[in-house]
Symmetry: C2
Subunit: 342 residues, 2 copies
């Protein structure tokens, strides 16, 4: 890097580079954008000048003029959530590789103004990844209306208008339930997710199917509504523990709920897994640091993020091809929180 770089408040523009290279500014633009009809010698001269001056494109101007901003938006509900962080990690990684920047939007911002918010987002970004299971309908309406490139994460899309990436929720729940059954459990409680979410419904159905396939009747009193959050997991586990015929195992529909359940079980003076087995879903990093370590179903969160980016970039390249849907497979991770009942 040379010393000529923009130290003062007047940054180097494409004109400066053009002057330095002895060509017109449009030629500079073409070189910088990899346009092909440029003589090699000219290209080199421009590249040199740009390098020497420490030129860096003003992305706002580029966005305005070219209609593309090279920014991808990410809409999330909360930030202090491992699930979200992990997916974000994959997204960031993939975007960096593709040369895109990331703009972060949180849903708690403008209640009642989702439409405007969506417009604002659209005015700044080339595409949007939605990691917002719950509020998503409101945003989706606004976004689909203007046919804006987007991808849903962890959400099945009924309309087919949105690309999406998700995991094998049903199968994961089936497997982890089966795991408990194989250990000898017959009374298995379940703490569901928010049933408005397809992932929660799929997991619950997987649980049911596993019981049925092993000729265990589904007992509705063992099904407690949760919301994927720790506090509800705690309360739901308490409810399960108060049952006359207490379950010998609990399947929490996500790890966060499982963490809550773990607290409740411990407070009740019971031991995991001796008195009661506990399994979760997601395999967030915390699942491996609890004591005992949590048996769970791994969702490839980072890879889901990467895949979402890939799908989105495909949409940007081929706006007219039908949106892609990718389902990644989950994996049962057996740790220390599950064992045969007494």
């Amino acid at each position: 890097m040379s010393d000529n770089s923009a130290k003062s408040n007047h940054p180097i523009t494409i004109y400066d580079v053009a002057k330095a290279a002895g060509v017109s500014y449009s030629t500079v633009s073409r070189v910088l954008n990899g346009f092909e009809f440029v003589k090699d010698s000219t290209r080199n001269r421009v590249m040199d000048a740009a390098e020497r001056l420490g030129y860096v494109a003003n992305l706002q101007a580029r966005g305005l003029a070219g209609g593309r901003s090279n920014i991808i938006g990410l809409l999330v509900p909360v930030l202090d959530n491992s699930y979200v962080s992990e997916v974000m990690k994959g997204i960031d990684e993939a975007l960096a590789r593709a040369g895109f920047n990331l703009m972060l939007f949180t849903t708690h911002r403008h209640e009642g103004k989702e439409q405007q918010y969506a417009s604002t987002i659209a005015s700044m970004t080339d595409g949007l990844i939605l990691l917002v299971p719950l509020e998503s309908p409101i945003y989706l309406d606004a976004i689909r209306e203007r046919n804006y490139p987007h991808v849903l994460v962890d959400q099945t899309d009924e309309s087919g208008a949105s690309a999406s990436v998700s995991a094998t929720n049903w199968q994961g729940a089936y497997e982890v339930t089966q795991h408990l059954i194989m250990l000898g459990h017959r009374r298995i409680g379940v703490i569901t997710g928010l049933l408005e979410l397809s992932s929660a419904r799929e997991r619950l159905n997987g649980y049911r199917a596993a019981l049925q396939d092993h000729d265990i009747p589904v007992d509705d009193s063992l099904i407690i509504q949760g919301d994927y959050l720790q506090a509800r997991g705690y309360a739901a586990a308490q409810a399960l523990l108060r049952l006359e015929r207490r379950p010998t195992a609990i399947f929490a529909s996500n790890d966060l709920s499982a963490l809550g359940a773990m607290d409740a079980i411990r407070e009740a003076g019971l031991s995991i897994p001796d008195d009661i087995s506990l399994v979760g879903f997601d395999d967030i990093p915390q699942a491996a640091i609890t004591h005992p370590k949590l048996t769970t179903v791994r969702q490839p969160l980072v890879q889901m993020g990467r895949t979402a980016v890939q799908l989105l970039l495909e949409r940007l390249e081929h706006p007219d091809s039908p949106p892609g849907h990718i389902t990644l497979t989950t994996e049962l991770v057996i740790r220390a929180s599950s064992k045969p009942p007494r």
Copy 2:
């Protein structure tokens, strides 16, 4: 919201609003920017039209023309880290309230290209919050050169050219060490952070000072270098446990290290806190879900994020006033992982 909103791909511009309101586009601009010399009746007419059409400003254009983008950048090293998430939460919250958008940049992106990266960031944002203890010098050079508004989080700034927000690291470490001493511990191991970071040095010094104030000689073999990461915490704890005269308590310089240490201690067949007390620093959410729950020093992470935003906005308003420095106080949080030695 009306049905006239931009459904097609041609979004509503300021001209459309001007036409609808029967005024010139510059008047619209003035109204939208809260300019004062506008007749009330005109203002209302414009507001109505904007509302009716569902107008939303194109922030790229606004940024280009006005020199302000209403975007604040956040530079972080990694995303899957509770510490980072918590601070981000505070930042997002405060920015939302102030009407700014958030653009996320990760440092792992362009090694060797930090200068350009910094320029790019500067071309898109109005200011930058740096949460990048380690790599920060490289970025800081580039940023200070162009006198770009920025705030450092958790980093003392020697030059005084940068605004900064941090916590009472020395005092927190002093207090938690004293807590262990009061419980009766005399051999207290410490797992440091990366000593290139001021926070790590301050915490180590606080530990030392507490020992000295209680006439306990500092034993260098009890000081193990760590790096604030879980893996090193694990290894460092193993090293401490192998010592001839094993410590009866360990102070990990951050919670992540403490989590690693916890694993090592448990693997060695020892119990926390019966055989050995363990304390951390930060009070990340995980600290409350470990078993036993971790005694630690709470840093007001969310508030640090909020404060960073506040300092940055001040800088934007008054570029010439000296950059602010705010130090938030930490708080000892006594949980179950510390008790008197046997």
